[in-house]
Point group: C2
Chain length 307, copies 2
């Protein structure tokens, strides 16, 4: 079964602290790499975990606070120096293009590859990307500047052929491929065999939601409902709820409560404030509302196994 895996590259909010790096994650979906956010020194983290840059073709930036994108120009530059030829597809707020263009211009750098830019917007959630493996849609978050999360939804898979039934009903070999797409079989006598009798349900499409910086909000629950894995920022403990509100962030307890309400399978919390040396209290707090919670720790991998 194709891999669907998230690797945490950075879990720190705002500033690096206690060897925690600012936000970045790598998704490996069916051996295609998608980078989500790119805080300063993300390229060092990719080196550290021996992840080959060349396999990243898509980069998604949630918003333009430095801890979510300051590693981008350095990474693009390294890809250039490493001889990259394939285009990079870059998704982020409109001003991101302006920043990159200015920095390349003053350094008189003309990248050897194309950066294809897709501006994200925060007026409403939208599907912004789709290939054979996945579609990606934005989540509108509530932060100090325009911010989106991203949902990665696996495309529905083909149905699995029931070999025994195919033999029993003598389905011609040529027709077997069509069964995978849910088509019923009609035999020579004109008898219609429902597809369900000849195939098994495919694994459910896997869903990963990345909920970057945001005030606690439930307005996107329907989008993430039932997701296999949700990353949600948990900058503070709930005792700092007022601080979370002022800075438009979420507490660990709130992240757990949201995961419970959205009936997701697993929750990963991250974007930890530099004030926390130990992260266990944040984990315990989120688990009090949603037991199946885990910490985003640099280098940790979260796989979704097809069910």
């Amino acid at each position: 079964m194709a891999v669907f895996e998230v690797t945490i590259l950075g879990s720190s909010s705002a500033t690096p602290a206690y060897n925690r790096n600012p936000s970045a994650q790598l998704l490996n979906i069916n051996e295609r790499y998608y980078l989500v956010d790119c805080g300063e020194a993300t390229q060092n983290q990719l080196n550290r975990f021996r992840i080959r840059y060349s396999r990243i073709d898509h980069i998604f930036i949630s918003h333009l606070h430095g801890d979510h994108y300051l590693g981008l120009v350095g990474l693009l530059s390294t890809m250039h120096l490493n001889g990259r030829k394939n285009p990079i597809h870059l998704f982020g707020p409109p001003e991101l293009k302006e920043i990159i263009d200015l920095q390349l211009r003053v350094s008189e750098t003309v990248l050897r590859y194309e950066v294809i830019f897709y501006a994200t917007h925060t007026d409403h959630p939208a599907e912004i990307f789709s290939n054979n493996d996945i579609s990606v849609e934005t989540i509108i978050l509530n932060h100090r500047i325009p911010t989106t999360g991203f949902i990665f939804r696996e495309k529905p898979r083909k149905r699995k052929v029931n070999i025994e039934k195919v033999a029993e009903y003598k389905v011609p070999v040529d027709f077997v491929q069509l069964l995978k797409y849910g088509i019923d079989y009609t035999d020579k006598t004109g008898k219609r065999i429902p597809n369900e009798e000849l195939t098994f349900d495919p694994p459910a499409p896997r869903v990963y939601a990345y909920c970057s910086d945001t005030l606690y909000t439930e307005h996107f629950i329907s989008q993430i409902e039932g997701a296999d894995l949700v990353y949600h920022e948990s900058t503070f403990l709930h005792e700092l709820l007022e601080r979370a509100r002022e800075t438009l962030h979420t507490t660990a307890l709130q992240a757990g409560q949201l995961a419970a309400k959205a009936k997701v399978d697993r929750l990963v919390i991250g974007h930890f404030s530099a004030r926390y040396k130990e992260l266990e209290p944040l984990l315990e707090e989120a688990r009090s509302a949603f037991p199946n919670t885990f910490l985003a720790i640099e280098g940790e991998k979260f796989s979704i196994i097809a069910s």
Copy 2:
């Protein structure tokens, strides 16, 4: 005697490689900190070597290739979040201001402290800064985009009083302070005692030159002549001289030759190409022309002892 010390924070050219970080150095001169270049993840390096950001008041950026400044906005942002109030004095090419302003604007960040910006220019070398301890002047380098090096010159120190002679000539206590400034003493009988007889020469002012990215050039030799310590880029071995010329860089041999011609005391080479895992061949090559050469390695400190 006041400290005059360079700490290497990054020694890699273009991209991070083999745990080498892009260019950055910290100068501690009389317990004031000066940051010279600020490649990506410089703040991580400052953390790693337990250097307190709050003591950096002056930042000098040689040019706008990413490996020399991409860590700057993150560092300024962290200083802001850490509650900095004192201004930062920032020296660099004019477009640096534009880049910082854009990035702060899109993140809707208003720094709690002032960034006082001084544009550097490459039409001619100039003194760009002076305080009680040092003056700083630019070196005009020959690189693909406008690039300056920086020379940090200690201010001449006061002369040292010769206690025995002062007693012998019965110089009044009030006058002793004036002796430190080289003033001659005239006694009650009208006899003039030359200052040299009452004082010792002060230690020679210490000089550190930072020669960032450049094609080999001798035009600034007179500026760095006799310097106590010179950092000069040595991106390649001399077998890659053509590559060095194409990319406007210097070889290790050339850096050694320049140090010999300029009769400096010590040479530190750095800005190593990512192709070199081992740096010893670069060191040996530079030493073949100038024996007193050392490698810029992350965390290494080079002190200049007043002589």
